[in-house]
Symmetry: C2
Subunit: 149 residues, 2 copies
């Protein structure tokens, strides 16, 4: 279905909650409540976000999590990469040498370009954008050429 994993989805929600809390430090439990998710789940994804440097953690009593940067300085692409690794639509466009017919595969290079376009689309949306309500005005620049049903 060409989708990000649920964990990535949850991660954006948790990050949004964090963004709304400003510089306040929130525990995994509070985060779970506000995001309406299970604590272990929140905990798990938070670890990955901390590892990627998107979130700061504080241990001990009254510890918790806080965004490492301003919401406007964190893109959705970074969250996706933190949760799923490098963005690449096809195996071979990420790692070369996996496919034994790379040399006569004219498709590879073109996929890499598509990857880039998608990465850019993801990179152009920041956490700050996700906090705003989805304005009913101009949806997307140009109408789609494909029926997506």
């Amino acid at each position: 279905m060409l989708r990000v994993s649920k964990l990535t989805d949850y991660a954006t929600v948790v990050m949004t909650v964090l963004a709304e809390a400003g510089s306040e430090v929130l525990s995994a439990q509070v985060l779970a409540e506000r995001a309406r998710l299970e604590i272990p789940t929140v905990s798990k994804l938070l670890k990955q976000l901390v590892h990627s440097g998107l979130v700061e953690s504080f241990r001990g009593v009254n510890g918790g999590y806080r965004l490492a940067r301003e919401p406007a300085a964190i893109s959705v692409a970074e969250i996706v990469v933190a949760m799923e690794g490098p963005i690449g639509m096809t195996e071979c466009s990420v790692t070369s040498g996996l496919c034994d017919h790379e040399h006569h595969c004219g498709v590879r290079g073109n996929w890499q370009r598509i990857n880039q376009a998608i990465a850019e689309a993801l990179a152009s949306v920041t956490l700050a954008d996700m906090m705003k309500p989805p304005g009913p005005k101009r949806p997307v620049p140009t109408p789609l050429r494909v029926a997506l049903a």
Copy 2:
């Protein structure tokens, strides 16, 4: 990793082979040889492509497959949709009602916008584009910007 499935990847390769053959009818076996894939695999994905109306099939001796439309009139998005179903980055942005906290999830609407941007990126590349070598000329038509707010 945010990727399409291997079958989808293969589908683009097979479609490219078909595009290069013009109006000639090729059997699954020939297709498999040219694409360097196994016959059952090619067979399987061809079935889906026929179902979606992207490819025409002919039964019986000397039967085979042929593109249903001009390569320039078939987008990568259509191939992806044929193989994986609707493009949607998150479950809830495709089907509503799955997530019990849709009403207080401010993220949903924004994901839908991102979906559209990605669908557009995919829709802007045609099969004809995939046939060309990834020349340093026109990269991808227009790296789309997601209009938020």
